[in-house]
Point group: C2
Chain length 394, copies 2
């Protein structure tokens, strides 16, 4: 039993478990092994930086789920999950990063003991942390079982958020606004980039009022000038320079729930082509927000954005948004729906996305984004409330 | 070609590549695919937060390695790797987190095109980010190839550090000392835990002097009181309390090189059993440092430590140290050697470890650790220089 109140009500965890069991039944899955730390936390409340070793949640149809992991981390599970202590299973430490033993040998034995040796076992085959070796060991150890690909089965159940979850994301949005305000106030020529990052982390983790900040699943990204043609470079100790734009890609995080938010700051006078792109991008965001209505497909948002950009001569392909919520490193996306021209998933009330049309051009980059909530009707609601523009500091 | 000077000399990258190719030859591996971001950076200089999508470095015997990844991240590769631009290969964005396409289809085609369709291909089967699905897709797409388990092949080459690498870890050690100093100065009853974490991040990222701080591969861990029985819980917004010990597990990080360092602070008067444990732990660390000599097995360090602890009635099993250096989330260990009773790997000059004998007892925890460098002779050198004790603030 948890030492502290878990983040959500028992009713909420029950709702989640019901959805997952229904999806398992639909796919004929007798037992599901979930290694994704976000899915583990969403189902059980488990929270700890232990996902660098094999661990998971085992979901049964008829009894409460079991947390399974390294024995020393079982102490952390007992303190954070809503299930009774007998649903916490630790494996011996000599399985950890061993070249002769593998933790999946322990998991296979537990599954056999519970009668699943010849059943249909769901696995997250495309997932961080569930390694190729983990699959091969399970396959060897469970020759009579049928291993079924259950990639993103849980992630899909997470798409539409409950009111309790949305309340967390609104708290995260207040933190994100504070971080962006701090950036815009502080950035100036000559400031070392890492010194600004230090303030960003401090603002994010102090949080907003009583709502303490958690670590985001991605570190702040902030490429400047020509480096901003690359979306995922991190900082260094060079100073900000006059005549350059820097995009700031950050998220507020409250109890593992993320609200990402990006703005770009130009130090000096922006060139005309960047201002033209800003105008097209802001129009594209507005068009996309208007298209992000319940009943519309995800593709409608992408088409609305790309249409506005194309009018300004900017051809963009690829993804311009992804679902957000509870996450652990290395990604704050949920890896299900994409705002893409060919994703026909229908938007539903309660879904939350990072509408993220980054422009990574040949010698500069521009990011102006919104985290959004699909409403009961009408255009999407933006979770953060800050001017949708290129900030210019002269 | 890189936009900035890569962190290491061409000579150093050449040394690394030679070692990896020799290990490949020994195992009969014709071409090696490396997805571990730490191994990618160690071989090529690539640095970016893009490891949440499939990417890797392809190591050939006869030509320079190729960086392979998402097309939008190819811009980041061109700016950071030492190879010429034609050695940077991007795959199309519609492979990313798609349910119908997989990036490994692209990789398989590239390998077939280069004549490796029927060769021995090395893969890091036990690794974060190289998913079970990635393996299964490659296996389908390359039916005539022999997929060989090359788990940790590169990691093993990283064990003994060059002088250039040790210099980075010394810079990281200065940052770690600064962080611990800041913690000891600031922690007091009533301070919210997240407010201290905010200062820890700020200190770590400001760095030490001109040496800017990079993000560590693990966030600060700091459980208090009975929660400290669990090693991997993260922070929340509750205040520090009088009468409790808190362990602080942090690392300084300089250009992805880590020097972890842990100290524990007791607010008030520690109970006698904790003071007894401190004494045994400090003696055990001293015994372990003395055993950490070149030519000794890794197990000698564990035995020296456990022997001292047992004299004080503390039985500890499991791992009490691991190799450190260049890392990306979720782990700052190198996942090769362990300080364990049954690890007979011989210690060599230049190897670096986090000697980490955490005591996670029933209702408290104590961590006093050292990051160490195996010397040319004699006991190991501690990279950080701070009192090896339980800090008490009354």
């Amino acid at each position: 039993m948890p030492a502290e109140k878990p983040p959500f009500s028992r009713f909420e965890y029950g709702r989640r478990l019901d959805k997952v069991r229904a999806a398992m039944a639909e796919r004929g899955i007798d037992v599901l092994f979930v290694e994704d730390p976000s899915n583990m936390a969403w189902l059980t409340g488990y929270d700890g930086w232990s996902f660098y070793v094999h661990q998971g949640v085992i979901v049964f149809h008829d009894v409460d789920p079991a947390w399974w992991g390294r024995s020393q981390d079982a102490n952390g599970a007992v303190r954070t999950v809503w299930m009774e202590d007998e649903h916490v299973i630790g494996y011996a430490d000599n399985y950890v990063q061993s070249s002769v033993r593998h933790p999946m040998q322990d998991l296979a034995a537990r599954l056999r003991d519970r009668g699943f040796g010849n059943k249909r076992i769901g696995l997250e085959l495309e997932n961080y942390y569930f390694s190729a070796k983990a699959y091969l060991v399970l396959n060897d150890e469970l020759p009579d079982a049928k291993l079924v690909d259950a990639t993103a089965l849980v992630n899909w159940q997470r798409a539409a958020k409950s009111a309790e979850e949305v309340a967390f994301m609104r708290k995260a949005a207040r933190i994100a606004e504070k971080v962006i305000d701090g950036i815009v106030a502080r950035v100036e020529p000559g400031l070392r980039k890492n010194d600004l990052v230090a303030e960003i982390f401090a603002d994010a983790i102090r949080g907003a009022g009583d709502d303490w900040g958690d670590y985001a699943a991605i570190v702040p990204l902030m490429a400047s000038g020509a480096d901003a043609s690359a979306p995922h470079l991190t900082w260094d100790g060079r100073p900000f320079k006059k005549g350059e734009a820097t995009f700031f890609e950050i998220a507020g995080c409250y109890r593992r729930y993320h609200t990402p938010f990006c703005r770009t700051v130009f130090l000096g006078t922006p060139p005309q082509d960047m201002l033209d792109a800003e105008k097209a991008l802001v129009e594209g965001l507005e068009a996309g927000l208007d298209a992000a209505r319940p009943g519309n497909p995800a593709s409608a948002v992408a088409r609305a954005l790309f249409g506005s950009l194309e009018k300004a001569g900017i051809r963009k392909e690829g993804r311009c948004g992804y679902p957000i919520g509870l996450s652990y490193p290395p990604d704050w996306g949920e890896r299900t729906i994409s705002f893409r021209k060919d994703d026909e998933t229908i938007l539903e009330p309660g879904m939350t996305f990072h509408f993220m049309p980054g422009l990574w051009m040949k010698d500069w980059g521009l990011e102006i984004t919104e985290s959004i909530l699909i409403g009961e009707s009408g255009p999407a609601e933006c979770l953060c409330d800050r001017p949708r523009k290129l900030f210019v500091k002269d």
